[in-house]
């Protein structure tokens, strides 16, 4: 049985280049009836350009921000009860991002992690230190404490409250932060994109005003080839840029205008 079809026919059968409908059906039936032939055909499977083109065409779905309602749907019911648990986990405990945004996280994903781990998520680690609100957090620039609140270190919150764009601010003596862009989102909230320069890495983040606090909307660590000199400018983490692109709904606020709007917040 297995010898009835040549490898060439079988490869053509897989590739969709077999014109003859009767042969097509004969091969399909033969494979279904003969496990040995099935294995032989499986071994002939090759990656082709069509598959690559299809993956490219649908790739934007993988990279798109995940709607919050979907993350909520996958969050444990008892998240609410456990929200008060304040244990620290390092970013290393989180699953790898499922897409290739360079290790960036958007708020819904952050929130989901915090909820599903039932812990606060400590961001920063070796990057920056500064006492978190729990006191025993081991240091960190940003501390997310639950699904809907993000407690920032006081230094960082102060920077977001009042530092003008472009001015580097010392954060806990371990690094510095610089606001690079201030704007309003579609809801009229003030949002600020900022950079954190630590001894080991540079990260980018976007925070928007939420009442008196700031909520981290996106966070990403810059890709930094080891051993190379750090560039002053460089490209901000793609996930953060994407978040800014998505949310920006005003001209960038600068100078006295920026100061006045921060003051009035």
């Amino acid at each position: 049985m297995t010898g009835r079809f040549s490898d060439k026919d079988l490869a053509a059968f897989l590739a969709g280049t077999l014109e003859d409908e009767a042969v097509m059906e004969a091969i399909e039936n033969a494979i279904n009836a003969d496990p040995e032939l099935a294995e032989r055909v499986e071994a002939l499977a090759r990656e082709d350009d069509t598959a690559k083109a299809v993956r490219t065409a649908f790739a934007p779905v993988l990279a798109a921000p995940v709607p919050e309602r979907l993350v909520d749907a996958a969050s444990p019911r008892e998240a609410e009860r456990q929200k008060s648990a304040m244990n620290a986990a390092s970013l290393g405990d989180l699953p790898e991002p499922a897409n290739d945004t360079g290790g960036s996280w958007r708020w819904p994903q952050f929130a989901a992690m915090a909820a599903s781990l039932a812990v606060g998520v400590l961001v920063g680690g070796p990057l920056l230190t500064g006492a978190g609100p729990g006191g025993d957090m081991g240091g960190g620039a940003l501390v997310l404490t639950g699904t809907d609140s993000a407690a920032l270190s006081p230094d960082l919150a102060a920077m977001l409250d009042s530092a003008p764009s472009g001015e580097a601010v010392e954060l806990g003596g371990q690094g510095s932060g610089t606001v690079v862009l201030t704007f309003r989102n579609a809801d009229g909230q003030l949002c600020r994109q900022f950079r954190l320069d630590g001894p080991a890495a540079t990260s980018d983040a976007l925070a928007c005003a939420l009442g008196d606090d700031w909520r981290i909307e996106a966070f990403g660590r810059r890709a930094q080839p080891a051993g190379e000199m750090r560039l002053a400018g460089g490209d901000a983490a793609v996930g953060v840029i994407a978040a800014v692109d998505e949310m920006i709904d005003s001209d960038p606020l600068v100078g006295p205008d920026e100061a006045a709007q921060l003051e009035a917040r």
Binding site: F13, L14, G16, A57, V71, A73, L94, M113, D245
Partner: protein
């Protein structure tokens, strides 16, 4: 430091990490992102309710994709009123890739998506599982409860249809 981790937390995390792939899968089934997100949401809710039925040590992605597909098939109204609409081009701006390369690629990508959206349902199933999710023929056959030769022939027919539409018009002699 003490962790308050429940045994199924790992599965929950995996499930959350799967969301982008589930959306892509559902998008191929439904033809548009809005319906896809409804399917994914219902799928995740079902998966969370039945997390205890998931067999640790087996692959969560296969389990979740099966639930997503069944969710879509169960919603007959939606399945019968499938509306193909290329809303992916609308979200591309958010991805932040290199602009020029993206603009050149996007026309091609749009044509590919239109070609996939035009395939019959049974072919889209295998395109989604084998081409996009890169499951083997055997895995796809198990997930779809189909004989392997049938999965192969469906994908083959899909490839032929896609190749016809993707080929530059000059070669269509």
């Amino acid at each position: 430091m003490k962790r308050l981790r429940k045994p199924d937390d790992r599965a929950t995390q995996e499930l959350i990490a799967l969301i982008p792939r589930l959306r892509r899968f559902a998008r191929v089934l439904t033809g548009n992102l809005a319906d896809a997100d409804d399917v994914v949401q219902a799928c995740l809710e079902k998966a969370m309710l039945n997390l205890d039925q998931f067999q640790p040590g087996t692959r969560l992605d296969r389990w979740a994709f099966r639930i997503a597909r069944n969710t879509w098939l169960d919603d007959r109204r939606r399945a019968a009123n499938r509306k193909a609409h290329d809303d992916i081009s609308e979200i591309i701006d958010l991805v932040g890739e290199d602009g020029v390369a993206l603009a050149e690629a996007s026309a091609d990508a749009r044509a590919v998506r239109a070609a996939v959206d035009a395939l019959p349902r049974e072919q889209r199933d295998v395109v989604a599982l084998v081409m996009l999710e890169e499951f083997s023929y055997r895995e796809a056959a198990e997930m779809l409860d189909l004989p392997i030769g049938t999965v192969m022939s469906r994908l083959s027919r899909a490839k032929a249809a896609l190749a016809k539409k993707m080929r530059p018009s000059g070669e269509a002699a």
